[in-house]
Protein backbone atom coordinates (compact mmCIF):
# COMPACT_ATOMS: atom_id res chain seq x y z
CA UNK A 1 0.00 0.00 0.00
CA UNK A 2 1.29 3.42 -0.98
CA UNK A 3 2.24 5.55 2.01
CA UNK A 4 0.49 8.90 2.26
CA UNK A 5 3.23 10.31 4.45
CA UNK A 6 6.12 12.00 2.78
CA UNK A 7 9.28 14.05 3.06
CA UNK A 8 9.54 16.97 0.69
CA UNK A 9 12.85 18.46 -0.40
CA UNK A 10 12.44 21.47 -2.65
CA UNK A 11 15.48 22.54 -4.62
CA UNK A 12 15.42 26.11 -5.89
CA UNK A 13 17.93 27.96 -7.96
CA UNK A 14 18.52 29.94 -11.12
CA UNK A 15 19.47 28.71 -14.57
CA UNK A 16 20.53 30.75 -17.61
CA UNK A 17 16.90 30.52 -18.76
CA UNK A 18 15.29 31.53 -15.50
CA UNK A 19 14.37 29.54 -12.42
CA UNK A 20 15.18 25.87 -11.96
CA UNK A 21 12.44 23.39 -12.94
CA UNK A 22 12.41 19.58 -13.25
CA UNK A 23 13.25 19.68 -16.97
CA UNK A 24 16.61 21.35 -16.17
CA UNK A 25 17.77 18.35 -14.15
CA UNK A 26 19.72 15.63 -15.93
CA UNK A 27 18.90 12.04 -15.05
CA UNK A 28 22.40 11.52 -13.62
CA UNK A 29 21.82 14.36 -11.18
CA UNK A 30 18.40 12.96 -10.28
CA UNK A 31 19.97 9.54 -9.69
CA UNK A 32 22.61 11.05 -7.41
CA UNK A 33 20.03 13.12 -5.56
CA UNK A 34 17.80 10.10 -4.89
CA UNK A 35 20.81 8.13 -3.68
CA UNK A 36 21.74 11.03 -1.36
CA UNK A 37 18.23 11.11 0.09
CA UNK A 38 18.34 7.37 0.71
CA UNK A 39 21.55 7.88 2.73
CA UNK A 40 19.98 10.82 4.57
CA UNK A 41 16.94 8.73 5.51
CA UNK A 42 18.84 5.53 6.30
CA UNK A 43 22.48 6.45 6.99
CA UNK A 44 23.67 3.22 8.60
CA UNK A 45 23.98 -0.20 6.96
CA UNK A 46 21.61 -1.78 9.47
CA UNK A 47 18.95 0.86 8.73
CA UNK A 48 19.42 0.47 5.00
CA UNK A 49 19.19 -3.34 5.18
CA UNK A 50 15.72 -3.23 6.72
CA UNK A 51 14.43 -0.03 5.22
CA UNK A 52 10.81 0.22 4.08
CA UNK A 53 9.79 0.94 0.49
CA UNK A 54 10.34 4.56 -0.47
CA UNK A 55 8.61 5.87 -3.60
CA UNK A 56 9.43 9.09 -5.39
CA UNK A 57 7.63 11.82 -7.22
CA UNK A 58 8.95 15.04 -8.68
CA UNK A 59 6.79 18.15 -9.07
CA UNK A 60 7.36 21.65 -10.35
CA UNK A 61 7.99 24.55 -8.01
CA UNK A 62 11.06 24.87 -8.54
CA UNK A 63 11.94 21.18 -8.23
CA UNK A 64 9.81 19.64 -5.52
CA UNK A 65 10.98 16.13 -4.66
CA UNK A 66 8.54 14.00 -2.70
CA UNK A 67 9.66 10.81 -0.97
CA UNK A 68 6.77 8.69 0.30
CA UNK A 69 7.65 6.76 3.43
CA UNK A 70 5.79 5.15 6.37
CA UNK A 71 4.44 7.55 9.00
CA UNK A 72 6.90 6.39 11.69
CA UNK A 73 9.88 7.20 9.45
CA UNK A 74 8.38 10.55 8.44
CA UNK A 75 7.84 11.49 12.10
CA UNK A 76 11.38 10.52 13.13
CA UNK A 77 13.00 12.22 10.15
CA UNK A 78 10.97 15.40 10.67
CA UNK A 79 11.85 15.53 14.38
CA UNK A 80 15.55 14.93 13.76
CA UNK A 81 15.94 17.37 10.88
CA UNK A 82 13.86 20.00 12.72
CA UNK A 83 16.36 19.87 15.57
CA UNK A 84 19.27 20.03 13.10
CA UNK A 85 17.61 23.09 11.54
CA UNK A 86 17.18 24.72 14.96
CA UNK A 87 20.78 24.08 15.94
CA UNK A 88 22.09 25.12 12.52
CA UNK A 89 24.60 22.28 12.73
CA UNK A 90 24.86 18.67 11.57
CA UNK A 91 26.38 17.39 14.82
CA UNK A 92 23.26 15.37 15.67
CA UNK A 93 23.38 13.34 12.47
CA UNK A 94 25.15 10.13 11.62
CA UNK A 95 28.43 10.87 9.76
CA UNK A 96 27.05 9.71 6.38
CA UNK A 97 23.89 11.80 6.72
CA UNK A 98 25.97 14.73 7.88
CA UNK A 99 28.13 14.38 4.77
CA UNK A 100 25.05 14.70 2.53
CA UNK A 101 23.98 18.00 4.12
CA UNK A 102 27.61 19.13 3.87
CA UNK A 103 27.58 18.29 0.15
CA UNK A 104 24.36 20.24 -0.46
CA UNK A 105 25.70 23.13 1.64
CA UNK A 106 28.77 23.30 -0.60
CA UNK A 107 26.49 23.29 -3.64
CA UNK A 108 24.53 26.15 -2.06
CA UNK A 109 27.77 28.12 -1.64
CA UNK A 110 28.98 27.45 -5.18
CA UNK A 111 25.76 27.67 -7.22
CA UNK A 112 23.28 29.46 -4.98
CA UNK A 113 20.92 26.48 -4.89
CA UNK A 114 18.65 26.21 -1.89
CA UNK A 115 17.25 23.05 -0.29
CA UNK A 116 14.04 23.35 1.75
CA UNK A 117 12.71 20.46 3.81
CA UNK A 118 9.09 19.93 4.83
CA UNK A 119 6.93 16.85 5.35
CA UNK A 120 3.42 15.55 5.82
CA UNK A 121 4.08 15.83 9.57
CA UNK A 122 5.18 19.46 9.41
CA UNK A 123 4.18 21.26 6.25
CA UNK A 124 6.16 24.32 7.33
CA UNK A 125 9.75 24.35 6.17
CA UNK A 126 11.78 22.97 9.10
CA UNK A 127 15.27 23.20 7.66
CA UNK A 128 16.63 25.19 4.75
CA UNK A 129 20.12 25.07 3.29
CA UNK A 130 21.18 28.32 1.66
CA UNK A 131 24.45 30.10 1.03
CA UNK A 132 23.94 31.84 4.39
CA UNK A 133 23.71 28.61 6.44
CA UNK A 134 26.58 26.52 7.77
CA UNK A 135 25.62 22.86 7.67
CA UNK A 136 29.20 21.66 7.55
CA UNK A 137 30.02 18.09 8.56
CA UNK A 138 32.32 17.84 11.59
CA UNK A 139 35.91 17.14 10.65
CA UNK A 140 37.17 13.66 11.25
CA UNK A 141 38.62 13.04 14.70
CA UNK A 142 41.21 10.72 13.12
CA UNK A 143 44.40 12.25 11.81
CA UNK A 144 47.32 10.68 10.02
CA UNK A 145 50.39 10.45 12.17
CA UNK A 146 53.85 8.95 12.38
CA UNK A 147 55.33 8.11 15.74
CA UNK A 148 57.77 5.96 17.66
CA UNK A 149 56.58 3.07 19.80
CA UNK A 150 58.67 1.29 22.38
CA UNK A 151 57.78 -2.01 24.00
CA UNK A 152 58.01 -5.77 24.01
CA UNK A 153 57.07 -7.60 20.83
CA UNK A 154 55.04 -10.58 22.04
CA UNK A 155 53.69 -11.99 18.78
CA UNK A 156 54.60 -11.82 15.11
CA UNK A 157 53.59 -13.60 11.93
CA UNK A 158 50.35 -14.18 10.08
CA UNK A 159 49.62 -16.12 6.91
CA UNK A 160 47.54 -13.81 4.71
CA UNK A 161 48.29 -10.61 6.64
CA UNK A 162 51.61 -10.32 8.42
CA UNK A 163 51.90 -8.18 11.53
CA UNK A 164 53.45 -7.93 14.96
CA UNK A 165 51.95 -7.31 18.38
CA UNK A 166 53.72 -4.97 20.76
CA UNK A 167 53.02 -4.17 24.41
CA UNK A 168 53.73 -0.51 25.09
CA UNK A 169 53.55 1.43 28.36
CA UNK A 170 51.68 4.26 26.74
CA UNK A 171 49.15 2.65 24.38
CA UNK A 172 48.89 -0.90 25.74
CA UNK A 173 48.75 -3.79 23.26
CA UNK A 174 48.94 -2.72 19.62
CA UNK A 175 48.86 -4.60 16.33
CA UNK A 176 51.25 -3.23 13.73
CA UNK A 177 51.08 -4.32 10.09
CA UNK A 178 54.52 -5.29 8.79
CA UNK A 179 55.83 -7.04 5.70
CA UNK A 180 57.29 -10.54 5.94
CA UNK A 181 60.65 -9.07 4.90
CA UNK A 182 60.57 -6.62 7.81
CA UNK A 183 59.69 -9.37 10.28
CA UNK A 184 62.36 -11.78 9.13
CA UNK A 185 65.23 -9.31 8.68
CA UNK A 186 67.89 -8.89 11.38
CA UNK A 187 67.85 -10.58 14.74
CA UNK A 188 64.96 -12.39 16.37
CA UNK A 189 62.68 -9.74 17.79
CA UNK A 190 60.15 -11.90 19.63
CA UNK A 191 59.97 -11.26 23.40
CA UNK A 192 62.52 -8.46 23.11
CA UNK A 193 62.03 -4.76 23.71
CA UNK A 194 62.16 -2.79 20.50
CA UNK A 195 61.56 0.65 19.12
CA UNK A 196 59.29 0.95 16.11
CA UNK A 197 58.84 3.83 13.69
CA UNK A 198 55.23 3.55 12.54
CA UNK A 199 52.53 5.43 10.66
CA UNK A 200 48.80 5.25 11.26
CA UNK A 201 45.76 7.15 12.42
CA UNK A 202 45.33 8.73 15.85
CA UNK A 203 42.14 9.98 17.45
CA UNK A 204 42.46 13.62 18.41
CA UNK A 205 40.11 13.24 21.38
CA UNK A 206 41.25 9.94 22.88
CA UNK A 207 44.76 9.46 21.49
CA UNK A 208 43.79 5.91 20.41
CA UNK A 209 45.77 4.54 17.46
CA UNK A 210 44.49 2.46 14.54
CA UNK A 211 45.59 1.21 11.10
CA UNK A 212 49.21 1.15 12.24
CA UNK A 213 51.90 0.14 9.76
CA UNK A 214 55.58 -0.41 10.46
CA UNK A 215 57.96 1.91 8.63
CA UNK A 216 61.13 0.58 10.24
CA UNK A 217 62.65 -0.87 13.38
CA UNK A 218 64.68 1.52 15.52
CA UNK A 219 67.99 0.85 17.09
CA UNK A 220 66.91 1.10 20.67
CA UNK A 221 69.21 0.49 23.60
CA UNK A 222 67.09 0.59 26.71
CA UNK A 223 70.10 0.48 29.02
CA UNK A 224 71.60 3.77 30.12
CA UNK A 225 75.24 3.97 29.11
CA UNK A 226 76.95 6.50 31.39
CA UNK A 227 80.26 6.20 29.56
CA UNK A 228 78.72 7.18 26.22
CA UNK A 229 76.85 10.09 27.82
CA UNK A 230 80.03 11.39 29.47
CA UNK A 231 81.91 11.15 26.19
CA UNK A 232 79.21 13.19 24.46
CA UNK A 233 79.21 15.76 27.26
CA UNK A 234 83.02 16.09 27.05
CA UNK A 235 82.78 16.59 23.29
CA UNK A 236 79.98 19.17 23.53
CA UNK A 237 81.57 21.05 26.44
CA UNK A 238 84.55 22.03 24.27
CA UNK A 239 82.24 23.95 21.96
CA UNK A 240 80.08 25.40 24.72
CA UNK A 241 83.23 26.79 26.36
CA UNK A 242 83.53 29.24 23.45
CA UNK A 243 80.18 30.79 24.32
CA UNK A 244 80.44 32.99 27.37
CA UNK A 245 76.79 33.92 27.86
CA UNK A 246 74.63 30.99 26.77
CA UNK A 247 71.36 32.78 27.63
CA UNK A 248 72.33 35.70 25.38
CA UNK A 249 73.35 33.25 22.65
CA UNK A 250 69.99 31.48 22.82
CA UNK A 251 68.23 34.83 22.87
CA UNK A 252 70.01 35.73 19.65
CA UNK A 253 69.12 32.37 18.04
CA UNK A 254 65.49 33.16 18.86
CA UNK A 255 65.69 36.46 17.02
CA UNK A 256 66.25 38.54 20.14
CA UNK A 257 62.91 37.56 21.62
CA UNK A 258 63.31 35.29 24.61
CA UNK A 259 60.42 36.48 26.76
Amino acid sequence: MESSDYISITVTGKTPDGYLNPKDIDISETKEFISDVEILLFPTKSEKDVRPKVSYEVKEGSVKNLFFIPAANAIMFTALLSEVGKQGSTNLLQPKASAILDKWQKKAYSSGREYSFSSSINKDQFIKITKETKFIAPQSDWVNTTLYLYGEIFEEGGLSKSNLHILTDRYGKLTVDATKEQLTSGTNKLYNTHGLWVKGKQNLQTGVLKDITLIDFLTHNQNYDELVLNMLIDKASINWEKIKDKDAWLDEVRGGNND
Binding site: D169, R170, Y224, L232, I233, D234, A236, S237, W240, E241, K246, D247, L250, V253, R254
Partner: protein, 54 residues
Protein backbone atom coordinates in the same frame (compact mmCIF):
# COMPACT_ATOMS: atom_id res chain seq x y z
CA UNK B 1 64.77 15.51 44.48
CA UNK B 2 61.02 16.01 44.62
CA UNK B 3 59.04 12.82 43.97
CA UNK B 4 56.73 13.78 41.13
CA UNK B 5 54.23 11.41 39.53
CA UNK B 6 54.72 12.16 35.85
CA UNK B 7 54.89 9.86 32.84
CA UNK B 8 56.56 12.12 30.31
CA UNK B 9 58.39 15.42 30.11
CA UNK B 10 59.49 17.77 27.36
CA UNK B 11 63.00 19.16 27.37
CA UNK B 12 63.64 22.72 26.29
CA UNK B 13 66.82 24.05 24.71
CA UNK B 14 68.23 25.48 27.94
CA UNK B 15 68.03 22.05 29.57
CA UNK B 16 69.94 20.45 26.70
CA UNK B 17 72.62 23.16 26.86
CA UNK B 18 73.08 22.72 30.63
CA UNK B 19 73.12 18.93 30.27
CA UNK B 20 75.79 18.94 27.60
CA UNK B 21 78.10 21.62 29.08
CA UNK B 22 80.00 20.17 32.05
CA UNK B 23 81.35 23.64 32.95
CA UNK B 24 77.90 25.16 33.41
CA UNK B 25 76.91 25.82 37.01
CA UNK B 26 73.59 24.02 36.41
CA UNK B 27 75.15 21.02 34.64
CA UNK B 28 75.01 18.64 37.60
CA UNK B 29 71.43 19.66 38.24
CA UNK B 30 70.43 18.85 34.64
CA UNK B 31 72.39 15.60 34.70
CA UNK B 32 70.70 14.47 37.92
CA UNK B 33 67.29 15.20 36.42
CA UNK B 34 68.23 13.33 33.24
CA UNK B 35 69.31 10.25 35.22
CA UNK B 36 66.12 10.48 37.28
CA UNK B 37 64.00 10.41 34.08
CA UNK B 38 65.86 7.32 32.90
CA UNK B 39 65.64 5.46 36.21
CA UNK B 40 61.95 6.27 36.61
CA UNK B 41 61.29 5.35 32.95
CA UNK B 42 59.77 8.76 32.29
CA UNK B 43 59.39 9.36 28.54
CA UNK B 44 61.62 12.18 27.41
CA UNK B 45 60.44 14.31 24.49
CA UNK B 46 62.14 17.10 22.64
CA UNK B 47 60.53 19.42 20.09
CA UNK B 48 61.94 20.00 16.63
CA UNK B 49 62.23 23.69 17.57
CA UNK B 50 64.53 22.83 20.48
CA UNK B 51 66.58 20.57 18.22
CA UNK B 52 66.89 23.36 15.65
CA UNK B 53 67.90 25.85 18.34
CA UNK B 54 70.48 23.52 19.81
Amino acid sequence: MIDIDIKSIMLDTSFCIRLMDKNDELHQNALDYFKYFLVEKISVHISTIAIAEY
